[in-house]
Symmetry: C2
Subunit: 498 residues, 2 copies
């Protein structure tokens, strides 16, 4: 048919093969870990990444992409979109010279080392200089990539293509105004009881329960498996093999349970791509924010909801009778939704979580535009934790050194965590409208129609739409913070008797 | 220092990275197996293999190898050997045109498919035509590669470099003369009792015992791990990460135990290569025969010996008291060394095993030289099983269709299985001379000095010597069947009271 397009597909599949191979090696490193093998494994992953990069940036491939784009009338809509997305990515990569990429890689490596050292000493000053260099590299990168309104936009585009800092400013202004106030209101109320979550929950029983959770969500165990790792994650080796990992803390029921549901949500997205489009943009995630919307929707809107536990709580009580004796469904529901500000982002409840992200966003934007110096960063960090969360930061490890992202040069990444929750609320609201009796289905343990809705409205499209366009297509408007705010208010006013 | 050599090393490491990555993907496919992912996984492995092949056959790499070989006076002995081995491999690969390699790959694929179909119907005639084409391809390959005495030599060189069919003829003439007669002699004697091996041996206890076996051999669990797979195997991702797999049959104690020791022997070889020489010939196995010598030495010369079980039998009786009650050490030792002809090679005892290999060798050599037609192959197969093992072949699955090797084009491969046992006997005899009190050490559960001996005499050299040269260096002579024959006679005359 179209020889050029066939060649394009073959190249994309080859790149995907190499990238997914690197993912297999990384997964194995996290799940299995012969200690002495880690050094050579890192080298092997780097070699594969290098080969993928060579294949991606090859001049001949650029010429092919140009040619296809110029003759896009010969392509159908999906083909044209694939080529357009690949062409944009090619052009973007080409804006960064080899010398710059190598310098960035060296800076990442030294910033990461400095972060490790600073963590060991709980001393931000050991990290400051390296971070300063990283910020300079990222400023330079933004300049090379180009932007219209703000350098932040250039970096954000890596994680949330098409989204702008102007949109983020609006969203986080709402967070600052409405959510901060609402959280403060809740913190006035008497606290819910959740000590039953910290009794002894034996490993094997938790593991089996986790497998049941995933099956019930619709995760396909013939196209993946769950393993144990230190930090839970999802990784794809192609839509027919999407792996999840979890962790088990025998003295914290929540540690596995909601990470299991969270990763399951990510995995359902990856399992939902068309296998026949393997390697093409149409079978890849739109953005980190949309990816996170899938995990958050399952984790919070479903997995921390009363209807969900109406379906599963009786069984849970059977599995752990001693721990949950005398705890009725509503008590359980309240306990698993306890709201309490904390210093560590990853341990946060679903309300305060967004203040953590807000703080990162404010700081990294100011750093990029030069209105804040790395010198003053820790002080600004601590000031904001006091102001937004009412907390004093006792040491840098519980403060500015807690996240690895900046050390890896991931600036513009944090907002996608919040976007995930906000999209999730908006999508779930729409799903309730589109699926008659959705909550009753969930109450009866049936999530099939919800999954179908996600498949049909989101998964199946891959990168065919931008996040903004997809959100508008599904819900009639672009991302709107009110959906999250309404969800949060309804849920937590009920739980905390506001 | 020597820029060319550095470039050579970098290229070899890159190739090794890609090849070992493919090994990780294949390992994962066998150990974990999300069913739906197998098709794309096969494609990913093929892509990596293709990339490794491109890197290996790149013209620029050939020019570099030539240059290094012409200026080999600038290299030390190890460097010169690395370059020599790589140069030979390059020249060899270049003898096969891309068109031929693709045709061979297609033939392999269709022969494998035919083998699968024939197995399902237990009907050799469904396989015959495809095998005929495979034999023709292998004849052509031998011609392209070139040989002096016999086309078999050209193919054997892939698996046992430097070894010749003339040497094999001599060895198998000895097998035919001495071993056939000796086996017949033993079959006259009253059979040993081994029913205690087929009692119920619980999975977890076997698994734990297997781990202990590996630890006791000196397998480094910080540089590898054991997993379960259908067929046990060893695979290396580099000397600092060498994985083994095993299987457990709760009604057959031997199924796991000696496969564990066997794979452990392979793994010790791979763990014994110098990590700093990763990717270079000096850190790779000499040949399949030498690799198999390491597994067989541990499995049979050590793992089925009386001294070994003197060390471990008391513990085994503690683990499985009911099964081994009233079975004393000597009874156990006799039972695990039962000699009985069988139709299936992989289930054979250590004497009859070599008749299976002998039959493959006779047949494939005759096929290659054209003195036997594929048409008559099954008949010839069955005739030989009657003559050498005294067995009638009831159907093709228990006969000519039992092995996958020919379907994969692995002709010249089988003899390396026997070479392994023969080398093992010769090496172990030498180790006994070199290590005072070796058997007493083994009796006391201490295998450290044996492992050191293998490391110092074999592992550390990688491909520095050919198998012939290494054998002569260690034992003062090239491979000599008498060592195996003497070992077999001494052991089995004792067990069977000949």
């Amino acid at each position: 048919m179209n020889k050029d397009y066939d060649n394009y597909v073959a190249r994309m599949r080859k790149i995907a093969d190499v990238e997914h191979s690197a993912a297999v090696l990384s997964w194995d490193k996290e799940v299995n870990h012969p200690k002495k093998g880690s050094e050579i494994r890192a080298q092997q992953v780097a070699t594969l990444s290098g080969i993928a990069h060579e294949l991606l940036t090859d001049e001949q491939f650029g010429i092919l992409l140009d040619k296809l784009q110029q003759n896009s009338k010969n392509l159908n809509a999906v083909q044209a979109k694939n080529v357009e997305v690949s062409g944009k990515r090619y052009q973007k990569i080409k804006k960064l010279s080899k010398a710059f990429v190598e310098r960035k890689s060296r800076t990442t490596s030294s910033t990461y080392d400095a972060w490790i050292k600073a963590r060991a000493q709980k001393d931000y000053s050991l990290y400051r200089e390296a971070l300063q260099q990283m910020i300079e590299v990222k400023r330079e990168e933004a300049g090379l990539l180009g932007y219209e309104a703000h350098p932040y936009d250039a970096l954000l585009d890596d994680y949330e293509p098409g989204f702008t800092s102007a949109q983020l400013d609006q969203l986080f202004a709402d967070v600052r105004k409405q959510l901060v106030e609402f959280a403060a209101e809740i913190r006035q109320k008497s606290q819910v009881e959740d000590s039953f979550l910290y009794k002894f929950y034996p490993r094997q029983k938790q593991w089996d329960f986790g497998i049941d959770i995933l099956k019930n969500m619709g995760y396909d165990f013939e196209a993946g498996q769950q393993d144990i790792s230190t930090h839970p994650f999802t990784t794809s080796f192609g839509p027919t093999d999407v792996r999840v990992t979890t962790r088990i803390d025998e003295h914290n029921f929540g540690s596995m349970t909601w990470s299991c549901i969270h990763e399951g949500g990510h995995a359902l997205y990856e399992q939902g791509f068309k296998p026949e489009a393997y390697g093409l943009p149409i079978a890849k995630a739109i953005s980190l924010g949309i990816h996170e919307s899938q995990s958050r929707l399952w984790e919070n809107n479903v997995g921390r909801s009363l209807p969900y536990w109406k379906a599963h709580y009786a069984k849970l009580q059977e599995i752990f009778p001693a721990n949950l004796k005398g705890i009725d469904l509503v008590q359980f529901y309240k306990g698993i939704n306890k709201i309490e500000p904390s210093l560590i982002r990853t341990e946060s409840d679903e309300i305060h979580y967004h203040f953590h992200v807000l703080i990162r966003y404010e700081l990294e934007k100011a750093l990029l535009e030069g209105s804040l110096e790395v010198e003053d960063l820790e002080q600004e960090w601590n000031k904001r934790y006091k102001s937004y969360l009412g907390l004093d930061v006792p040491d840098a490890n519980q403060g500015i050194l807690q996240d690895i992202h900046w050390a890896f040069g991931l600036i513009g990444y944090f907002p996608t965590y919040s976007l995930g929750s906000f999209y999730a609320a908006q999508f779930f609201e729409q799903a309730k409208k589109d699926i008659p009796g959705l909550l009753e289905q969930i109450e009866s343990g049936n999530n099939a129609e919800l999954l179908n809705w996600l498949r049909d409205n989101i998964h199946v499209y891959g990168k065919f739409y931008t996040a903004n366009d997809l959100c508008e297509k599904i819900t009639g408007e672009t991302l709107n913070f009110q959906y999250f705010m309404d969800y949060a208010k309804a849920k937590y006013r009920d739980i905390y008797n506001v």
